[in-house]
C-alpha cells in the first residue's frame, strides 16, 4: 500500500536574483489508492513538489515518504508522466513502452507481455508498431502513460500530462485515466491548472498558493465514483468549482502582479 506522506517539505532555489522559495512547509498525505489533484497558479511550484516526490529534485527541507520509505532519489516504484512529449521518436510504440521494462531488467518475454498489456490498457491496441511521429499528441501521451503503467508502480505522478492537448482530448483522456485508476490499486497525484479537470478526476483537491508555494486549501470531492462529463452542470460540481476558484483567484492575481513587477 503506497501512501504519500509529505512532512514540512521545502524547496528553495538559488537564482542570480536571489533565493526563491518554490515550495514551503507542505505537510500533506495522499492516502493509499487515493487520487489527489494539485492545482495552483502557474509558476507556483506544483511541478517542483511533484518532482520532489518523484525523487528528481532534492527538497531543501522536510521529508517525503512513499509507502513508508523515505524518498532519496528516483524509484521505479514511483511512475512519472511528464507534461512534455516524452515518447522516443526512434522507437515504435511497443518499443517505447518496453523501454521502461528493459531498463528495469525485465526478461524479454516479460517485456513483451507487459508492454502489450499496457498498450491495450491505454487503448492503443493496433498501434504497437507505429512510430510516435505518426500519432497525435494525445496518442503520444497515451504511449507515455502506458510506459509508466507497464512497470505497475504503486504511485503514479502526473505533471500536467494533458496541458498541450485540446479540450475534447483532455476530457476524454482524463476520463480514461480515472477509469484505469479505478481498476487499479495505484495512488495518483495529478498536477493541473485546470479546476474542472481536477474535480472531475480526483477524490481530493489541494490548492497551492503562489510563491512560496503552500497548500492553502484541501477540498474533498464528494461526487459519485462514476463521473460522466455531464456532471459539470450539477450543483455539487459548481459549488466545488466556486470554492477552488475563489482561493485560486487571489493567488493568481498575486502571482501575476509579482511577475509583472519583476519584469
Amino acid at each position: 500500500m503506497s501512501e504519500i506522506n509529505l512532512e514540512n517539505v521545502e524547496v528553495a532555489f538559488d537564482t542570480p536574483a536571489g533565493t526563491v522559495v518554490a515550495v514551503s512547509g507542505v505537510t500533506q498525505r495522499v492516502p493509499a489508492q487515493g487520487f489527489v489533484s494539485l492545482v495552483g497558479p502557474s509558476g507556483c511550484g506544483k511541478s517542483t513538489l511533484l518532482s520532489v516526490i518523484a525523487g528528481l529534485t532534492k527538497a531543501t527541507g522536510g521529508q517525503v515518504q512513499v509507502g513508508g520509505k523515505v524518498v532519496n532519489g528516483p524509484d521505479r516504484g514511483i511512475g512519472v508522466v511528464f507534461q512534455e512529449d516524452s515518447t522516443l521518436p526512434w522507437r515504435t510504440v511497443l518499443d517505447n513502452v518496453r523501454f521502461a521494462l528493459q531498463v528495469a531488467g525485465v526478461d524479454k518475454e516479460g517485456q513483451l507481455e507487459r508492454a502489450r498489456w499496457a498498450i491495450e490498457l491505454v487503448g492503443l491496441k493496433g498501434f504497437a508498431d507505429a512510430y510516435p511521429s505518426m500519432l497525435s499528441g494525445g496518442m503520444r501521451q497515451r504511449v507515455a502513460l502506458a510506459r509508466t503503467l507497464a512497470l505497475e508502480p504503486g504511485v503514479v505522478l502526473m505533471d500536467e500530462p494533458f496541458a498541450a492537448l485540446d479540450q475534447q482530448t483532455r476530457i476524454f483522456l482524463g476520463a480514461e485515466v480515472r477509469s484505469i485508476w479505478q481498476r487499479s490499486a495505484q495512488t495518483v497525484l495529478f498536477v493541473t491548472h485546470d479546476i474542472s479537470e481536477a474535480i472531475l478526476l480526483s477524490e481530493q483537491v489541494w490548492v497551492m498558493s503562489y510563491r512560496p508555494g503552500q497548500i492553502i486549501d484541501v477540498i474533498d470531492v464528494d461526487l459519485p465514483a462514476e463521473r460522466d462529463p455531464s456532471i459539470v452542470s450539477s450543483h455539487a460540481f459548481n459549488e466545488l468549482h466556486n470554492r477552488i476558484w475563489t482561493s485560486l483567484q487571489e493567488e493568481s492575481m498575486r502571482g501575476f502582479r509579482q511577475q509583472e513587477g519583476a519584469a
Binding site: A54, G55, L56, P74, D75, R76, I78, G79, V80, F82, E84, D85, S86, L88, P89, W90, F99, A100, Q102, V103, A104, Y131, S133, M134
Partner: protein, 290 residues
C-alpha cells in the same frame, strides 16, 4: 550537402534544436520536412538530374568537335570516357586509387572515433566545450590544408602526413555536430532517464546517442567528405602517389589525355560517394519523420 544553417531554423522539436550552441558550424541533418508528394519530388529530381548530366555530356561532346574549344582545353566526352575506361585496366591507376583510399579510409575511422569522443567530452564538460569551440569553428576542416607543407617537413612526404591532417579535418565536423546534437537533447528525455533509473550506459546508448543521431550522422557524412577533399587536395600539392598526386604529375608531363581521365574518375567517384552518403543518411533517420 547542407553545410550548416538549418539547425536553428526548424521548429521541429524532436530532432532539430532551435539554436545550435556552436553558432551553426554544425551540419543540419539531411531531413526533409514531411511532404505529401515526396515520391513525386524525388522522381522529378532524378529525371531532371539525368537530363542535366546528359545535356552536359552532349555539350562537351559537341564542343571540341565543333571547334568551340580545343581538345587540349577539354577533350570530348567520348574520348574522356574511353581513356577513363582504359585507366581501369592499368595497375598504376589501381595503385594510386589504393593509396588514396587507404588515406581516406584511415582518416575517416580515426576522425569519426576522435570526433565522437570529443563530442561526448564537450557535452559532459560544457566548460571545456566552450573553451575549444572557437578554435574548432575557426579551423572548420578545410583551412587545415594550409598546414600541409609544415606536416611534410616534420613527418615526411608520405601517407601519414596526409592521414594526420585529413583525420583532423574529419574530426572537426564530427565533434561539432556530436556536441550540438547532444546539447540539443530535449530535457524531458534526460528527466525520463533519471526517473527510470537508467545506468550511465543505458543513458548513452538508449537516450543520448539515438536522440543526437540525426546530427551525428550528418557530422559523419561531412567528416567523410572532408577526409576525401582534404586527402586529394594534399596529394595534389605534393606526394609520391595517389589520385591527386597523379593528376598533378600528368599535368607536368603534358599527358593531358590521361590527366583528364583521372580528373573524370575522381569527380565521378566522389560525386557518387557524396550522393550515397546523403541517401544513407536519409534512410537512417527515416522512421522519425514519416
Amino acid at each position: 550537402m547542407r553545410t550548416a544553417a538549418m539547425a536553428h531554423q526548424s521548429k521541429e522539436p524532436v530532432t532539430v534544436p532551435e539554436t545550435t550552441p556552436t553558432g551553426t558550424a554544425a551540419a543540419a541533418p539531411a531531413m526533409s520536412p514531411r511532404r505529401r508528394r515526396r515520391l513525386g519530388d524525388a522522381t522529378f529530381s532524378g529525371i531532371a538530374t539525368t537530363i542535366l548530366v546528359a545535356l552536359l555530356a552532349v555539350l562537351c561532346e559537341i564542343g571540341p568537335r565543333a571547334g568551340w574549344w580545343g581538345e587540349e582545353v577539354l577533350p570530348s566526352t567520348s574520348s574522356i570516357v574511353a581513356s577513363a575506361a582504359d585507366l581501369l585496366g592499368q595497375p598504376q591507376f589501381w595503385g594510386d586509387a589504393a593509396r588514396t583510399s587507404l588515406e581516406i579510409g584511415l582518416s575517416i575511422v580515426f576522425g569519426s572515433v576522435l570526433g565522437l569522443l570529443l563530442g561526448l567530452v564537450f557535452w559532459k564538460l560544457p566548460t571545456v566545450g566552450r573553451i575549444f569551440e572557437p578554435y574548432l569553428v575557426s579551423f572548420y576542416a578545410v583551412p587545415m590544408v594550409l598546414f600541409y607543407p609544415l606536416a611534410i617537413v616534420v613527418v615526411g612526404i608520405n601517407a601519414s602526413s596526409v592521414v594526420i591532417l585529413a583525420t583532423i579535418m574529419a574530426t572537426i565536423p564530427v565533434a561539432l555536430n556530436t556536441t550540438v546534437g547532444l546539447n540539443g537533447i530535449r530535457p524531458v528525455y534526460l528527466k525520463l532517464a533519471r526517473s527510470l533509473q537508467c545506468s550511465p550506459r543505458q543513458l548513452l546508448t538508449s537516450i543520448a546517442l539515438p536522440a543526437a543521431a540525426p546530427f551525428i550522422v550528418a557530422g559523419l557524412r561531412l567528416g567523410v567528405v572532408y577526409a576525401l577533399i582534404g586527402s586529394i587536395a594534399m596529394e595534389f600539392v605534393t606526394a609520391q602517389a595517389g589520385l591527386g598526386y597523379r593528376i598533378r604529375y600528368l599535368y607536368e608531363i603534358f599527358d593531358n589525355q590521361t590527366m583528364f581521365a583521372y580528373i573524370f574518375v575522381v569527380l565521378v567517384v566522389s560525386m557518387i560517394l557524396t550522393a550515397l552518403l546523403v541517401a544513407v543518411e536519409k534512410l537512417l533517420v527515416k522512421g522519425r519523420t514519416q
